[in-house]
């Protein structure tokens, strides 16, 4: 089993990240772990036609930050005010 997954943004940019990081988002976790042989689980690829590249990038950063935070390293996660709204929508969708 591969331990990376590929997240693809609305514009088609691909982010390859550790599976454990991606699992921070409950939605992605469900996609990747649901039984039934969904293509997401099989290929380790998830496409997000609603999420733009910069937001998805921030999301990926967030995944890693969240892992760090959970393991006790409490750093600050900087979010530009200009992207808060879109990021919030994405986070809500991803259940992260």
């Amino acid at each position: 089993m591969k331990d990376t997954v590929k997240l693809i943004s609305a514009e088609g940019f691909e982010f390859v990240i550790d599976k454990k990081a991606a699992m921070v988002a409950n939605t992605i976790r469900n996609m990747l772990t649901s039984p039934g042989g969904f293509s997401e689980a099989q290929h380790g690829e998830v496409t997000f036609p609603e999420i733009s590249t910069p937001i998805l990038e921030k999301i990926c950063q967030y995944f890693y930050w969240s892992l760090q935070f959970a393991s006790g390293k409490e750093t600050e996660f900087h979010i530009d005010p200009e992207i808060t709204l879109e990021l919030m929508l994405a986070a809500n969708y991803l259940d992260a």
Partner: protein
């Protein structure tokens, strides 16, 4: 991998066990926190985004975008200047992006601005371009501007909300003869303003939404020719003595406007202060030269005393909507009197008593809006004593259409019959009032009426037929009423009727509507059963024109169509500050449209509030 699973388990364990910590970690919560920390920046971002981006994406279909790109390549390929002009005028007629005026080119990249890039200006370089409006071309950057500035003939430049950076102002200043500069919504600071002083001929300066503060404002004195200034949504609180005739200070906090009594300079005649916060309104207005102000819009402002009204004797247009206006303050307002022709009192707390005060003082009033106020039938008697009234908006008030002649007696008097005295009345709005069929009978005598707006659950076929005596009607809104198929088909339509608005009349069947439309092809019928092509067509061809039409429609028709274009009205908020109604009308140039300028003048309520 094993390691990873373990950590995951740990994570989810914490999720349930120690919810608070997991909560802090959540991305959404982080966003909230970040947004809260930088409130001002988020507000600015929202302001930047709200009207424009939404508008662009909704209003232009992909078809139009294609069209625009195609045209762009056409222009780029033509090297001869004559051809180029042709190309431009074709553009103008096709999509009203570019409007050619005599030898001047006034170019409006109003909407599809976002697809424009720097390249375009290679072509523009050799033209005799005098006016350029490239508002909202967010892809235009410094490089593009630089090319643009090689055009020596430029007199007018509007670069409102482009991708241009602050430090570029200095370059703009090459053009010493520039008369108009519209730089709204660029992050502009006081120091940047300094570099503009070479523009000594500047007459029109639009820097709304910028970072200008009082320091920058004092420096505005260095523009001797300035007569139009828009500093809405800035941090300016004190304005120096300026020779301007038109000033927009919407959304500002205002301490004072200095005015030196100097006969040589033209006095301020138009002041727009929508949503402004006056620290002491009396003091601010006492500085103005009495009797010179013609146009005053202080809607949504915090003005709560009108002692300064004595100073405003010459006023013709007064907008007090959404003010904290009550009956007690009305006497002060009434002293403005005589010359007033437009008065907007909508969304205030005034009752019929206010009108009794007002009635003798406003003999020249033509346009009165009382929408969403507390007036009732008693007010109609007073309204009827304002002889020049042409447009009356009584929507969403307590009008019922009848009064009881005395307290004990239950004899009903039809109050709308009072309106017969108004011989000039052409537009009447009674939407969302409690009128019933019987009460509407007197309206059939208002034969001069051209625009009638009705919306009520109580109206039936009876009213429809009673009103067929109004032979001059051009717009008839009969919304949300209980009319039957038979009632509609037997309705004798007035000869000039062009729009018949039946939306919300749920009893009508699709068949009845379509046979009515077949019978009266010249009439635009609006109903849920009619696919409202009038909106979609406009969108596919483009630009400013449909916008104004849609806007008029929306304002006239309230909340309808919400499913199709959600939050469309709200996205106009910024536009209202940016453009006056007249300017919006000028943007409009579609020949097929039935709404002329006069028509829109008559549209009550919201449209005129701008």
């Amino acid at each position: 991998m094993a390691n990873c699973t373990k950590r995951d388990d740990g994570g989810s364990g914490r999720d349930t066990g120690c919810g608070r910590k997991a909560d802090v970690r959540r991305c959404g919560r982080r966003c909230f926190a970040a947004a809260r920390k930088a409130r001002a920046r988020v507000a600015r971002w929202r302001r930047d985004r709200s009207s424009l981006d939404q508008l662009v994406s909704r209003a232009i279909g992909s078809r139009h975008r294609e069209l625009a790109t195609k045209r762009l390549s056409l222009i780029s390929s033509s090297t001869d200047s004559e051809d180029y002009r042709d190309a431009l005028s074709v553009r103008g007629s096709m999509s009203s992006i570019c409007i050619c005026k005599r030898t001047l080119f006034l170019i409006q990249f109003f909407f599809y601005g976002s697809t424009l890039t720097v390249l375009f200006f290679n072509v523009l370089g050799h033209s005799r371009l005098k006016e350029l409006d490239m508002s909202r071309c967010s892809k235009i950057t410094d490089a593009g501007i630089k090319q643009l500035l090689s055009i020596k003939s430029l007199r007018k430049l509007e670069v409102f909300q482009t991708g241009q950076q602050d430090n570029d102002v200095a370059k703009v200043s090459h053009i010493k003869k520039m008369g108009l500069l519209d730089k709204g919504l660029i992050r502009r600071s006081d120091s940047a303003l300094n570099s503009l002083y070479v523009l000594t001929k500047l007459e029109y300066l639009d820097i709304w939404g910028s970072e200008i503060s009082n320091i920058g404002a004092t420096a505005l004195e260095k523009f001797p020719m300035l007569n139009y200034l828009n500093i809405a949504w800035t941090k300016v609180t004190r304005l120096p003595n300026l020779p301007i005739t038109s000033l927009n200070i919407s959304k500002c906090g205002i301490h004072s406007i200095v005015y030196r009594d100097d006969k040589s300079i033209a006095p301020l005649s138009k002041l727009v202060a929508t949503g402004a916060t006056f620290f002491d309104a009396d003091e601010v207005f006492s500085c103005l030269q009495p009797g010179c102000l013609k146009f005053l819009d202080i809607s949504r402002s915090n003005v709560n005393s009108f002692n300064f009204a004595v100073n405003l004797q010459g006023l013709e247009h007064l907008d007090l909507s959404y003010c904290q206006l009550t009956d007690g303050l009305m006497e002060q307002v009434a002293t403005i009197g005589e010359n007033l022709s437009y008065l907007d009192l909508s969304n205030t707390k005034i009752t019929s008593h206010s009108l009794s005060i007002l009635t003798g003082c406003v003999q020249n009033l033509e346009n009165l809006s009382l929408s969403h106020s507390l007036v009732d039938d008693a007010s109609l008697a007073y309204i009827s004593m304002m002889p020049c009234l042409r447009v009356v908006d009584l929507s969403c008030t307590r009008i019922r259409g009848f009064v009881y002649s005395n307290r004990e007696n239950s004899e009903k008097m039809l109050s709308l019959s009072e309106l017969q005295n108004l011989t000039h009345l052409v537009s009447l709005n009674l939407e969302d009032t409690k009128v019933i069929d019987e009460a509407l009978q007197p309206l059939s005598l208002l034969t001069e009426l051209e625009y009638l707006y009705l919306k009520s659950d109580f109206l039936t076929d009876i009213s429809l037929h009673a009103l067929s005596s109004l032979q001059k009607l051009r717009f008839f809104g009969f919304r949300g009423c209980v009319i039957t198929d038979y009632g509609l088909l037997s309705y004798r339509t007035p000869p000039l009727l062009s729009v018949f608005d039946l939306r919300g009349s749920w009893l009508l069947s699709a068949d009845a509507i379509s046979s009515f439309r077949r019978k009266h092809e010249q009439i635009e019928v609006r109903h849920e059963h009619v696919n409202s092509l009038f909106v979609d067509e406009n969108v596919s061809y483009g630009l400013p024109a449909p916008l104004t039409t849609t806007k008029a429609t929306l304002s006239r028709l309230g909340t309808e169509k919400s499913s199709k274009r959600p939050s469309f009205t709200s996205s106009f908020a910024d536009e209202r500050i940016k453009y006056s109604a007249e300017e919006l009308l000028e943007l409009k140039s579609s020949p097929g449209s039935r709404c002329t300028r006069e028509d829109l003048d008559l549209v009550p309520g919201m449209l005129r509030n701008q």
